[in-house]
Structures are given as C-alpha cells and as structure tokens.
C-alpha cells in the first residue's frame, strides 16, 4: 500500500465515522432586549417621598389600587430579581431575611415570615405592563439596598401584595 493510498484510506474512514455520528447544534442569536431603550431616570425620585411604611405594615393596610409609599430592602431570597423584567422582591426593613443570608428559597426556615414580609415591586408602562428590562439595568439598584417606592397596591385573594411602581428613591 503506498503512502498516498494509506492516508486516503485513513481520511475516508475517519470522515465516515465523524459524519455518521455527528450532531450539530446552533445557538439562537440573542436578540436585543425589547425594553433596552427605556430611560430609567424618569422613575428615579430626587427626594424621598413622605409617609413611607414598611412592607409588613403595607400588607396589613393597603387595599387593592390604593396609592402607597413603601420602604424596604431589595432581598427576601438569594434571587430577588426577575431576570429581564423591571421587577424585584422587597422585604420589610425590620426583617432579617435578606439575600446575604444562607437561607434561600430552597429551605422553609422562614417561609411564613417571608410571605408576610415581602412584596413584589413592578415598574410598569402606561398600559400597566411590566417593563421588559432588568431592574438592575433600568434603575441601577443592587441587592440589599434600602429603597422607598411610590406606586399603587395590587392585592389578590390570597393577600399577596404587589406594587405597581411609578417612582423609586434609593437611600444611600
């Protein structure tokens, strides 16, 4: 067998194996975030709004659609953020349940306490839809920051509280 014939045989055999077993995958190209052009500055308040109450108090007193000013810390679990949405979990300032604690959403050590001390803050557009941009990017906020949020309360039958926010003040 000549050198050329041997190399050809090896290449053909290897090619047959490789093509016979190959699988291909294509990564879908990431599209740009639909809310990327939203200016977050219009939601940032220059002064702290008055009459802020903690999350626990807000859950007790706020009715559906009530105007509300609520104060709290961004936290309540290891992942307080909702990826790709201008929304996050706010926890009462008096609560020790924050993102830096070992307890995360996979344990139930504080689950009852957690349910009573947290609310979901959602920044919405004129149609009331949650903005499709990550809150960290839109507002420049971070975990554990103490914030004051102004907005409208949204209650459901189970007593869960969401705040459709129109403004945010970050205590720094």
């Amino acid at each position: 067998m000549s050198l050329r014939e041997t190399i050809a045989a090896i290449v053909v055999a290897a090619g047959l194996f490789a093509t016979g077993c190959g699988t291909s995958s294509t990564d879908a190209a990431a599209s740009s975030e639909s809310g990327a052009n939203i200016d977050g500055r219009k939601y940032l308040l220059s002064h702290e709004p008055e009459g802020a109450v903690g999350v626990i108090r807000a859950r007790q007193m706020a009715g559906d659609d009530d105007e509300l000013v609520v104060v709290g810390r961004i936290g309540g679990g290891v992942a307080p953020w909702i990826e790709g949405r201008a929304a996050f979990v706010l926890v009462d300032p008096s609560s020790g349940i924050t993102a830096d604690e070992a307890c995360d959403e996979e344990c139930n050590c504080h689950s009852d306490e957690l349910a009573d001390a947290t609310a979901v803050i959602k920044f919405v557009d004129a149609q009331g839809k949650v903005l499709a941009v990550d809150a960290r990017r839109l507002l420049g906020v971070k975990e554990l920051e103490m914030i004051v949020v102004k907005g409208r309360a949204k209650r459901d039958e189970s007593g869960n509280l969401s705040v459709l926010a129109s403004g945010i003040y970050v205590r720094r």
Binding site: M1, S2, L3, T6, I10, A13, A14, F17, A18, G20, C21, G22, T23, S34, I82, E83, G84, R85, A87, V89, E105, E106, C107, N108, S111, L114, A115, T118, V120, K122, K129, V130, A132, D156, S158, G159, N160, S162
Partner: protein, 389 residues
C-alpha cells in the same frame, strides 16, 4: 543536503506484516485501551446529552419552594394550574388548549410480572397537555394510556433492570397498590423522560390518595416570557412556589453530576496513560529485537531521523488501525446501550466528540509509544548494532 531521505512508506507497512503475531497482539492491546476510552467518554457524553435534550427553553417548571431541585419531594396546591392559566401573560395557547401541564412526579417501587422483587422506578401522572410541552415524546408502539393504563419510556426496562418483554404492550405491572396495564411505549429523543412511566394524572392521584401536584409545566410563547412565570411564583408567596426554566433545571442537574464527569475524564487520562506505557513496552520489545536491521539501514546510508520516522510510522499505523477497530466496536456494541443511574437511565453515546477523543488518544498512543524506544535503539553505534544477535 538538508533534505531528509525517508525510508519508503511501504517498508514500514511491510514490517508490520513481517511479524504478524507481534503486530496482532500490539493491535489488540491498543484496541482494548482505545475501547476503554470510548466507553468512558460514551458514559460522560450520554449523561450530558440526556440532561441537555430534556429541557425546552419555552417551558417553565413551577414546583414547591421547599423541594430544592428534587421535584419528587414537591407538593403544590391543585389550584396552581388554574391560577397560572388565568394570571400569567404569554402562556402559549393553541386551538383552545392552554399549555399548562399539571403533573405528579414520584419514585415508586414497580413490580413486573416475572420479577419477584420490585424495583425503583419513576412515574409521572400527566394529562393530555403533557405531550404538547414535551415535544420529544413520541408513542412508538401501542397508544396513549387510558384509565388504569400506563405508557412506558424506551429506557424503563434498563431503569428497572428487567427485560423489555416484561414491559411489552399488553403486559401488566404493579405499583402503589394497583395493577396497571401497559398501553404503549414511547421514546423522547434521548431525554430523561425515556426512563419514566407515564399514566393519567387522576388515576395516579387516586392511587396515591393525593389531591395536589408535584409540578406544573408551563409552555410560554418565547423564552423571554419565562420571566412572567417566575414573577407569578414570586408574587404568590402564600403558595410557596418556585419557577425555573426547564433548561436551567436540567443544567442544575448537570452541575450536580459535575464530579462524576470529572472522574470520567480522569479515568480517560489514566487509561490513556496506562495505554502509553503498554505501547512503550511493546514497542521496546519490537524495536530492540531489530537492532541489527536498524544498524544495517544506517550502514546503507539512511539517517537516524529517517529510521525514527519509519518506526513512528509503524506505531502510528497500528494505533490508528486499533482506534478504528475500537470505534467500530464502540459504535456497534456500546452506542445506545442503556445504563441505569439515580435519576433514571440514559443511553451511552458514541458521538463525534467521542470518536475524536478516542481516535485522538489512540493516534497519540502510537506516536508517543514508538518514539522513546526508537531513539534508544538508534543510540547503538553501527558496528555494535551489526554485531548484535
């Protein structure tokens, strides 16, 4: 002057056939080593592939916050499915069907007709919405399960350690105090569902005396809409839910098996290392016995480097041949073989990556194994070499 005059290519090839027994033994040794590499890589790739194809970016799993990553331990209220359908935007909806699939997912002791002792299997109670979300699932034999019936995945027999005949369509199995008739078999393109038993959700709830679900799988219109389901779970604190993209869920399981994969690659390294030493040993024997021949080649004018190249060529030819034989054996006998593991079963996968690693290791064995003995043999002076017996 600078051009190296190589020995004819045919010289190396003919040499292999001149000592057929030794060449055959070396070939067998190399084939075994490369086959071991193929098997280990097939285990790693099979496990990876099984978990990788199980997730759909348009599906979000909603289950109990307290269950961690173990859905078997999850219990969520039955009203979760209706709440998800009513409250979450961008849930897929076609032909009047909302893509929300409530499921009960449990580990149970399954008893087949021919087996005395039951074996641990995975059972998923589903509705007819489930195949809309798990698009890989395809009935390959029989029909969708009716009341009191089950459909078994392609790898369930491997998971239970029984013969596929015991789970043939029409046969019966026992679990959770009831007898279930096998209505059909399904495949799922290698996904984890293939090691599961599917039955009607109300039947399983009745057998287990449970009203709740383990999870609700939600189909969304595009991967970005998964955030809406996550937001729902965070809002419904009273239900204690967590929502995870199905792809992320299986990626977290892959992370769980990271040590196993690492161990697998270490075994590949060790097997390859052992193969190099075995190759070195064989090639030392082969080359040292040919000192006179090699000295004669030098005497007739071939340079040492040319002779080393020819010896490496022999080693490389043998190892590549061994690799191809091993690849053929792996494709025929190893590829697709079902293996049991904690979460179910998966099929060994000899794919292009496996072929590349196996054949690459094989080729490297031949080249590395032939180099040191060739260099050593050529350290003899020509006169000493010609006198050697």
């Amino acid at each position: 002057m600078l051009r190296l005059r190589l020995l004819p290519w045919e010289y190396g090839v003919r040499n292999l056939f001149r000592r057929p027994t030794r060449s055959a033994l070396t070939l067998a040794g190399l084939t075994t080593v490369v086959l071991l590499v193929f098997i280990v890589v097939a285990v790693i790739r099979g496990l990876e592939a099984s978990l990788a194809v199980s997730g759909d970016p348009n599906v979000v799993l909603v289950y109990g916050m307290n269950a961690g990553t173990d859905i078997e331990n999850s219990a969520i209220p039955a009203r979760t499915a209706a709440l998800l359908s009513a409250s979450v935007e961008n849930v897929d909806h076609r032909f009047g069907v909302t893509f929300v699939s409530p499921e009960l997912y449990i580990g149970s002791r399954i008893e087949t007709a021919d087996r005395g002792s039951p074996a641990l299997g995975i059972v998923r109670g589903v509705t007819t919405t489930a195949p809309l979300l798990r698009k890989q699932v395809e009935i390959v034999d029989g029909k969708w399960p009716g009341p009191g019936e089950i459909a078994v995945g392609r790898l369930v027999a491997a998971k239970l350690g029984c013969s596929p005949e015991e789970l043939a369509t029409g046969s019966s199995v026992k679990f959770d105090g009831r007898e279930w008739k096998v209505s059909g078999r399904f495949s799922a393109s290698g996904a984890a569902f293939e090691s599961e038993i599917w039955c009607n959700l109300p039947d399983l709830q009745q057998a287990l005396k449970r009203q709740d679900y383990s999870l609700v799988a939600v189909g969304v219109k595009d991967p970005k809409s998964a955030a809406d389901v996550v937001m729902f779970a965070k809002e419904q604190k009273s239900l204690e839910l967590q929502a995870v993209r199905e792809t992320d869920y299986y990626a977290s399981l892959q992370k769980h098996y990271q040590p196993v994969r690492m161990l697998g690659w270490i075994v590949v390294g060790l097997v390859a290392g052992a193969g190099v030493f075995a190759g070195l040993n064989t090639m030392y024997g082969a080359v040292v016995g040919r000192v006179r021949e090699l000295s004669t080649l030098q005497a007739v004018g071939f340079r040492r480097r040319s002779i080393v190249v020819s010896l490496i060529q022999e080693g490389a030819l043998l190892s590549i041949a061994g690799s191809l034989v091993a690849a053929a054996i792996a494709l025929v006998f190893v590829n697709g073989t079902a293996v049991r593991f904690t979460m179910g079963a998966f099929a060994l996968k000899v794919d292009s990556m496996g072929i590349l690693v196996g054949c690459g290791t094989g080729a490297l064995l031949g080249v590395l194994g032939a180099m040191p003995p060739s260099i050593k043999a050529l350290r003899y002076s020509i006169v000493e070499g010609l006198k050697a017996v």
